[in-house]
């Protein structure tokens, strides 16, 4: 039995023509339902794995219920993805909430490690050591 055959692609290559099902013109792109921005239209650059930590263990009295719940979760560092899961809120709703809270300095964000042009070999080695312990 012979497996089906694929053809390799290269970076920057134009994607192949889409099937008729998905080819419905520019208007057919899906949209996030919660596209919330602050009044200046700024949105914090938050990744799924940006770590969020509360700046103070006690929520201020002015905190909304959502903010108080988030602050309680973030007494220890927690990723945006985990916040989304525990709060049962879509990722985009959590990033909107966090954008306000970062501005108000209720929480701090610890930026993720992302793939770079010059990768950190010692980081990759640390991950390998960590996995070998599992």
């Amino acid at each position: 039995m012979t497996p089906p055959q694929r053809t390799r692609r290269t970076p920057g290559e134009d994607p192949p023509p889409r099937s008729a099902e998905t080819q419905k013109g520019p208007k057919s792109n899906p949209e996030r339902i919660y596209v919330v921005a602050d009044p200046e239209g700024e949105r914090a650059e938050l990744d799924l794995v940006t770590l969020i930590v509360a700046t103070s263990p006690d929520p201020p009295s002015s905190a909304t219920p959502e903010q108080a719940a988030l602050l309680r979760l973030c007494s220890a560092p927690l990723s945006v993805a985990e916040l989304s899961a525990y709060l049962n809120l879509p990722f985009s709703a959590v990033t909107a909430l966090l954008t306000e809270m970062l501005t108000a300095e209720l929480v701090q964000a610890r930026a993720p490690i992302v793939r770079q042009a010059l990768p950190d070999r010692s980081l990759l080695e640390a991950v390998m050591h960590g996995l070998q312990r599992l």
């Binding site: 927690l78 610890r110 490690i113 992302v114 793939r115």
Partner: protein
């Protein structure tokens, strides 16, 4: 949104809390077709109970459901399972089991662009399901390894034959695995990390 109120939100179990020293996190994406074993793999290797992050989007024209004729847009929820491994006191690794359809990837900022790399999980009974995913990763310059989840009734191909069928260069690892087993899933992740390390050594990681 159905917010439950602050008193009812269960947080991480005590043993799942990260130390204050946790400075940064990195992510790996596990991508593949429906039912190929992404969720099982995340669950077998994660140190925390796997969690789900959802994103809601409008239905219009995404070709998922047959809501033609309905006047209003319908909200569709796309879910992504993820797990976590503590690497050091400072560093945390997250694993995301991501739907194979590229049209969902934009929902999460930097899901692939920021990932260290990807695991493409394939099922030899439906090999062609993974073709588009691999092409998309190649276009985006995301390094990946291929893990063949060995289902009992699936055809077994020798690795060289699979490499030819998948049109993959010699240096891209292809490994067999049983994602139900933690050691096997871990070995797939180690294969990816060794591959990334070799790319870093040869200076070809972009």
């Amino acid at each position: 949104m159905d917010f439950k109120g602050s008193e009812t939100v269960p947080g991480p179990r005590t043993e799942d809390r990260l130390p204050q020293t946790a400075q940064a996190a990195a992510k790996i994406v596990i991508v593949g077709g429906f039912g190929v074993g992404k969720t099982t793999m995340v669950g077998s290797v994660s140190e925390i109970r796997p969690l789900t992050t959802e994103e809601t989007m409008t239905q219009a024209g995404i070709g998922v459901d047959d809501n033609f004729g309905s006047a209003s847009k319908t909200a569709t929820t796309v879910a992504m399972d993820f797990g976590r491994i503590r690497i050091t006191e400072q560093l945390v690794l997250y694993l995301f089991g991501t739907p194979g359809q590229e049209r969902f990837w934009f929902l999460w900022n930097g899901l692939f662009e920021g990932a260290l790399g990807a695991v493409v999980l394939v099922d030899t009974r439906r090999l062609e399901v993974s073709f588009d995913v691999m092409g998309r990763l190649e276009e985006r310059g995301v390094p990946f390894v291929v893990a063949v989840n060995t289902f009992p009734d699936a055809p077994r191909y020798p690795i060289p034959e699979l490499r030819t069928a998948l049109d993959l260069p010699e240096d891209v690892p292809i490994v067999e695995c049983d994602v139900r087993r933690r050691a096997s899933s871990r070995d797939v992740l180690l294969t990816l990390m060794r591959f990334l390390h070799s790319l870093a050594m040869s200076g070809s990681l972009t």
